[in-house]
């Protein structure tokens, strides 16, 4: 089984580690470029994308992550993690500068404020039966580029997309109490 690096600058990194540990995967917290050595997959958790963007820059991880992801490191990004990966961020800050690894346009806080945070069951390609979708101040994917496959939708909009080894969701599988999405990701990348 591959060792999975979990970006741990801020946000729900612990929950991802717990899910991965329940699936018997080794994990390591990534706060510096050195922590990227020896990992076979990466998780970018939810949190505040503006905070993480700033910390990516000050820690030197911005360049290092771009490099390993362009070299094909498998990655599962959730919520703010998706915003970090996107090629275009709408309603972002001028200095937000995403990694640009996944060709999607994403709108931050696309459903509004916390009062609009919600749960909804999702049909996910490759999973039998509905998956609990937990959307917290979630972004909305407004555009998917060529080669980006949509694995789940909510109300007609993409909420889980994949391009090769890079998977990204607008919802939080790590809070779902359901291991199947992480399991599917690990099976595909391992």
């Amino acid at each position: 089984m591959v060792k999975v690096g979990v970006l741990a600058l801020q946000g729900a990194f612990r929950e991802h580690r717990e899910v991965l540990a329940a699936l018997s995967a080794d994990t390591v917290e990534v706060r510096t470029p050195e922590a990227l050595s020896g990992i076979g997959a990466l998780v970018l958790p939810g949190g505040e994308s503006t905070t993480m963007t700033r910390l990516l820059r000050t820690s030197g991880l911005h360049g290092a992550l771009s490099e390993v992801l362009r070299d094909g490191l498998p990655c599962l990004a959730t919520c703010a993690g998706l915003i970090l990966l996107a090629s275009e961020v709408l309603d972002g800050r001028a200095d937000q500068e995403p990694l640009g690894v996944l060709d999607v346009s994403v709108r931050r806080n696309g459903y509004g404020r916390q009062l609009e945070s919600f749960e909804a069951p999702l049909d996910v390609e490759g999973l039998a039966g509905p998956f609990p979708g937990v959307f917290i101040r979630a972004p909305v994917i407004e555009r998917t580029g060529p080669g980006v496959a949509v694995l789940a939708r909510h109300d007609g909009r993409p909420v889980l997309v994949r391009r090769g080894p890079v998977w990204a969701s607008t919802f939080h599988p790590e809070l779902a109490g359901d291991l199947r999405l992480h399991e599917l990701f690990l099976k595909e990348v391992a």
């Binding site: 801020q10 946000g11 706060r31 939810g46 700033r54 910390l55 459903y111 916390q114 945070s117 109300d155």
Partner: protein
């Protein structure tokens, strides 16, 4: 901008415990900063704050001015909501559910039922289950934390002593809560019944905490954090994120201090990074000895 928002429906449920606690999970490892103007909110967001607390006066000024401290003017809160894209929190008085209703109608992302404001009810806290907006509450010990959780709080912050720039009370409250949790994890089943009585908390919650070894909601730290090393200290003790009130905007040079505290919270276990970001920040807020205070805010709440 609201017209660009997508309606969550159909088949969607809002205000569940999972999405209310979930936002607290997303703030882990971050710094929530008190701000009194849109400009300060922008400084906080630029520095990497995960959220701001919109206030009319920071606790140090509330302490200095005296009088009754209430919920902020809605216009002031809306000004801050318009200035930043990160979550905006606001405070209501203990037990003042009408202020909480107003804050929910303004669309704030978290309500802090806070001892920093003057309590409105000497026996009852707000029934937080009745709200879609999530609540954070302060606690000085495990029993207080569990009573707030039983009322529906989705995040607990250790109280410390707000507006003092003195970390000693925050450390005491954090050590108290975490130490009491550790003791529960080694208690026998019959001891848990006694512990529930002692903590004046529901036995089901006491049993849950004993089994998990932590609270069922995130535990953050507030009240007295003024330096990057303060943030590192409370994170190493077991806080999962920090609130900084007067410590930033009552210091000499707020922007660099705000950035430094953000860095120190993320890299709390790496002393060389905490050292690096602590250099040349200018004077921290002056601070107060706890023994000289006329009013101890942490004693409010029941």
């Amino acid at each position: 901008m609201p017209d660009q928002h997508v309606d969550p429906a159909p088949g969607a449920t809002t205000g569940t415990a999972r999405v209310k606690r979930g936002l607290a999970e997303m703030l882990r490892g971050g710094v929530i900063m008190d701000v009194v103007t849109p400009d300060q909110a922008r400084v906080a967001e630029d520095a990497g704050a995960v959220a701001v607390m919109a206030l009319e006066r920071v606790p140090a000024d509330i302490r200095r001015d005296g009088g009754v401290a209430r919920m902020s003017d809605p216009a002031m809160i809306e000004g801050i909501q318009a200035a930043v894209t990160i979550p905006v929190m606001a405070k209501c008085r203990i037990g003042h559910f009408a202020e909480a209703q107003v804050l929910q109608s303004l669309g704030v992302d978290y309500v802090d039922e806070s001892e920093v404001l003057t309590p409105a009810d000497e026996a009852h806290h707000v029934d937080k289950w009745a709200f879609t907006v999530p609540f954070v509450c302060g606690a000085t010990n495990l029993g207080e934390a569990l009573r707030r959780i039983s009322e529906g709080a989705c995040m607990i912050r250790s109280k410390g002593e707000a507006g003092t720039g003195n970390i000693v009370e925050a450390v005491r409250h954090l050590r108290s809560i975490l130490g009491e949790i550790r003791r529960l994890t080694v208690a026998s089943p019959e001891e848990l019944f006694a512990a529930a009585k002692e903590h004046r908390a529901p036995v089901e919650l006491v049993q849950e905490v004993a089994g998990r070894g932590e609270l069922p909601v995130p535990l953050f730290c507030a009240g007295g954090i003024a330096t990057p090393a303060d943030a590192s200290l409370v994170m190493q003790l077991g806080a999962q994120a920090v609130f900084v009130g007067s410590g930033i905007f009552k210091s000499d040079d707020p922007a660099p201090r705000a950035k430094a505290i953000v860095e120190a919270t993320t890299h709390y276990a790496d002393a060389s990074i905490v050292a690096k970001v602590s250099r040349g920040l200018g004077e921290a807020m002056r601070g107060e000895e706890i023994g000289t205070l006329d009013v101890k805010l942490a004693e409010r709440g029941w």
